[in-house]
């Protein structure tokens, strides 16, 4: 079976761990438990008649440890770049992360997640406000782990592009 490493990246509290918990275990909690370091999970996805094993690296969003990020992204095939539109500053974090990745390991397929879409009335930005780098994304998806809106689509979209990438090689 094909296996790929995928990283969850974004500012603290944008909902990276919640996306993984919803996707892997179908659970959600409103309680914030910040990630320290990285937590690794695995999930098998089916795409057409192919199966792909995703090794998910749920990386902490905390800024003060960014120097270890290069170690965490080593060998990743693609990533989810998560922003919280109720906190526009999280877009700046995403910009920095995108730059770091492109410099350190070169461009990789990624999906932008505009997270917490159950709170849309509190969003301070829309897709149109995202910087130009968002045009390079496979897709920009508005999702919610809380309501289970399009969480599967997020991972499925990235998985599909990883498979296509492999076939193109």
């Amino acid at each position: 079976m094909i296996q790929k490493k995928v990283c969850m990246l974004g500012a603290f509290a944008v909902g990276k761990s919640s996306l993984v918990r919803r996707f892997v275990d179908n659970i959600y909690s409103d309680v914030y438990t910040t990630t320290i370091g990285v937590r690794i999970d695995k999930k098998i996805v089916n795409i057409g008649d192919e199966t792909l094993s995703l090794v998910l690296w749920d990386v902490h969003g905390e800024d003060s440890y960014q120097n270890v990020l290069s170690a965490y992204i080593r060998g990743m095939a693609g990533y989810l770049l998560v922003v919280d539109p109720t906190r526009p500053h999280s877009v700046d974090n995403a910009t920095n992360l995108k730059n770091l990745i492109d410099t350190e390991i070169g461009p990789k397929p990624f999906v932008v997640v505009m997270n917490k879409c159950d709170l849309k009335e509190q969003w301070l930005i829309t897709q149109d406000d995202l910087p130009d780098w968002a045009n390079d994304a496979e897709l920009i998806i508005e999702a919610s782990s809380k309501n289970d809106t399009d969480v599967n689509l997020v991972f499925q979209t990235l998985a599909e592009s990883l498979l296509q990438n492999r076939q193109a090689q």
């Binding site: 509290a13 910040t34 320290i36 990285v38 937590r39 094993s53 905390e62 270890v68 080593r74």
Partner: protein
């Protein structure tokens, strides 16, 4: 019980780590498993049948190989449990070496500190 390979014990000595019963995995240059220690199970792995162990048992290594010549440390990994491990990887003429060191105590302490700081930052609109 296997004897700790000198590549592992020398590395651990060089970083001032505990050299007794380390959790390690030894691969050859084509990523075939040469040797491993049962202490890997202390890090959430479930290596029961020694005959059946393959790289598939180590999905967290996906993308990480080959091990670099200069030691690389990937800190605070929660591999398959509530435990935290620092992963050290390097290669020598004898092959590739992966060592897991427990960092649970320091990580839990850091988590508590980060939790209170980030929670209050969130409340103040961080």
């Amino acid at each position: 019980m296997n004897v700790t390979p000198s590549s592992v014990s020398e590395y651990l000595q060089s970083i001032g780590g505990i050299t007794d019963n380390p959790a390690y995995l030894h691969l050859d240059d084509s990523n075939q498993i040469v040797d491993w220690s049962i202490q890997l199970n202390d890090h959430g792995l479930k290596l029961f049948d020694a005959q059946m162990i393959t790289l598939k048992n180590f999905s967290f290594l996906e993308g990480l190989l080959p091990c670099p010549n200069n030691p690389l440390v990937i800190p605070r990994m929660q591999i398959a449990s509530t435990q935290y491990s620092d992963l050290h990887m390097f290669s020598t003429p004898l092959g590739q070496w992966i060592i897991l060191l427990d960092s649970t105590c320091a990580s839990i302490q850091a988590q508590l500190e980060q939790q209170s700081r980030l929670s209050s930052e969130l409340l103040t609109g961080g």
